[in-house]
Point group: C2
Chain length 387, copies 2
């Protein structure tokens, strides 16, 4: 196990009545709040009215910034930063899924950053403070509600990149599984692939002697998969929605990665697909993760054997390690297909002739990933396996 | 799953060089620190010199309060409160195991409480603030380093009781597995039973639809047991020490209980044994938990079947539920015996003629526990099963 530092002060409020807690969770010292959200779905569902009702009840002045799209854009972030500065806003409430939260987090850091916040994504700059952000979560997927990172797309050049700092962990996160009951299947299952990937990016490590977090990862993976099948059967299953919602948070709040070197190569490749084609994040992971697995499993077969056995119950008897490892990867692909998600680029009608460009943008002359360092040629090979 | 609120801002610093972080973790605004510890062991090991060296390096004035015994005493807590007030101390550093941490936490709350802090244990009073406490952990067991509770013994009447509030979560906890390498077996295995019990008090619940936390509990239990056997084989196994140390923290930081009604009946009975006979906490749990299991399993056989199958791999084929459940309990008893811990009162030479008194003090005319509400007669029956 590696040494680590862990700090996660996000207040998690979970359950059917959790939204009511917002009134106590936003400190009374705040006078103006930026209400940040996406499109009309929270208005249709009545969530918008409930949230604004609570904020008005606190006599908070609300400045609205709607319009967050999937894969949140830097241009809107910059607009948010301006609005916050002009209005002397001291608190940001994000009502939505990962895109809204990540946009809010980046605004929160940007307001206090003296310069172009994009510099902090490219490594030219750094930050260590941010406005407090509260979250009302509507889509279980990104885990951003309790995580220390944010991912934003710079339309200028189609770069999808991330920032990370403990100051980006939201002050609170409201998780009411009820409001996820009516999520379209597509969002539900893309979200499920996303949270599974957050576990896998931690699970596939070369760090040895990580028994506890291995088992915690396997526990979370199995819970997500079991409950994903329940939701496929019945999207209105509250208990399954609750398991999925909590699992999405646990998958990415850092606990599962304690003391481990994490990978994140698949995410980096997936981000480039999104940057180029606007592909839903979860879809990119569904396509890339199996290909990544097929490309890297020989780097540490015993870990893939463990994955096959402990997550999918693959039996070892009469098989060699390679067969067991490959059977586990096959089972994972089967799961993805069972969720009606694609496991190859053509299945989702994505181009297969930009591999050079994707690999170049992704590796930037260096490498991505840690389980196996992926240089440009490796990324191209993985993309070929996804063809 | 039940609704819940979770907030845990303890900074966890883990690894061989983690102690060095103390200098940055104690805010510079503090001028005087109470250094709270037990006896001479931290002096013998050199830990005392290292810690005081770091504090002096920060030009902090150190006021020492050693002398914390197992099952920390209210009298020393009161002395600590006085010292802190007299010296205007604003930070408490606990160097030790659960007893030292719990004593420090109670002092921290007591300093700011206007009245007798014991009133907050009995329910006559309540508190919602405490001085910040930092922890350098020497014994993995209590999980107090990241928990919201503290247990103290009032010698006057032999009461061992607890307080709970999020403000009791330490500001930071330093976990260096290296300093646990030389722990005597007795402390190692009593600590292991303690952390296992913290998981079991959460695992045995009547709350339904708690898939994720069920699996996280099972993962933690299996990790602790696997690594306990490794330490029995080789107490100098750093990696096993690291797994045990992290598991002890995870077992009691609240994550495993999210959305579950917890039990804590066994702890309440165990506390009375300690209050009367001074018995090591982990020993009382080793004795009472199997008896409790035998007494309550019929309340929810399927949960005990799950325990048997998922934690011990008991096979169901050809057995009825009761047989599987009882086999699981047997396996747990076997584990305790493998750790050279007692599973009955006589084995540890404890009296068996105070059952009425214990049951009375424990239930106070009401009940303890939640999985099955235990009234006085139930506690007596459980104690009889431990005879």
């Amino acid at each position: 196990m590696n040494s680590f530092f862990y700090y996660n002060p996000t207040k998690l409020v979970f359950g059917k009545d959790s939204l009511d807690e917002v009134k106590d969770l936003i400190d009374n010292k705040h006078k103006k709040v930026l209400l940040h959200y996406g499109g009309g779905s929270i208005k249709k569902s009545g969530l918008y009215d409930k949230v604004t009702g609570i904020l008005k009840g606190k006599e908070l002045e609300i400045v609205e910034l709607p319009g967050v799209e999937s894969n949140p854009k830097l241009s809107l972030v910059k607009k948010g930063i301006e609005i916050c500065r002009e209005n002397e806003i001291t608190f940001i409430l994000a009502v939505g899924g990962g895109s809204v939260i990540d946009s809010a987090k980046t605004i929160a850091a940007g307001v206090l950053y003296d310069g172009d916040i994009w510099d902090c994504f490219t490594g030219k700059g750094s930050f260590n403070e941010a406005l407090p952000v509260g979250v009302v979560l509507t889509i279980p997927a990104s885990g951003s509600e309790m995580s220390s990172s944010a991912v934003v797309t710079n339309e200028d050049g189609k770069f999808k990149m991330s920032i990370e700092h403990d100051c980006l962990r939201p002050e609170f996160a409201i998780l009411n599984p009820e409001i996820t009951l009516t999520l379209p299947n597509k969002q539900t299952f893309a979200g499920i692939i996303d949270m599974i990937s957050h576990v896998l990016e931690r699970y596939f490590t070369q760090t040895i002697d990580v028994d506890l977090t291995d088992k915690l990862c396997e526990a979370t993976l199995k819970t997500i998969m079991n409950n994903a099948y329940k939701l496929k059967e019945d999207p209105m299953d509250y208990d399954a929605r609750a398991e999925i919602m909590l699992s999405g948070t646990i998958a990415h709040n850092g606990i599962l990665g304690l003391g481990r070197q994490e990978d994140w190569g698949t995410h980096r490749i997936g981000h480039e697909l999104t940057a180029l084609y606007g592909t839903t994040h979860g879809v990119t992971l569904a396509i890339i993760f199996p290909a990544w697995m097929k490309y890297v499993y020989k780097e540490n077969i015993s870990r893939f054997v463990q994955f096959a056995e402990n997550v999918f119950g693959v039996l070892k008897a009469g098989k060699n390690s390679e067969q067991v490892a490959l059977e586990g990867i096959k089972e994972f692909e089967n799961f993805i297909r069972d969720m009606n998600m694609p496991t190859s680029l053509p299945e989702y009608k994505l181009p297969t002739d930009d591999f050079e460009l994707i690999a170049q943008k992704c590796t930037k002359g260096s490498y991505v990933g840690r389980f196996k360092k992926l240089y440009k040629k490796d990324v191209i090979n993985i993309l070929k396996l996804a063809k």
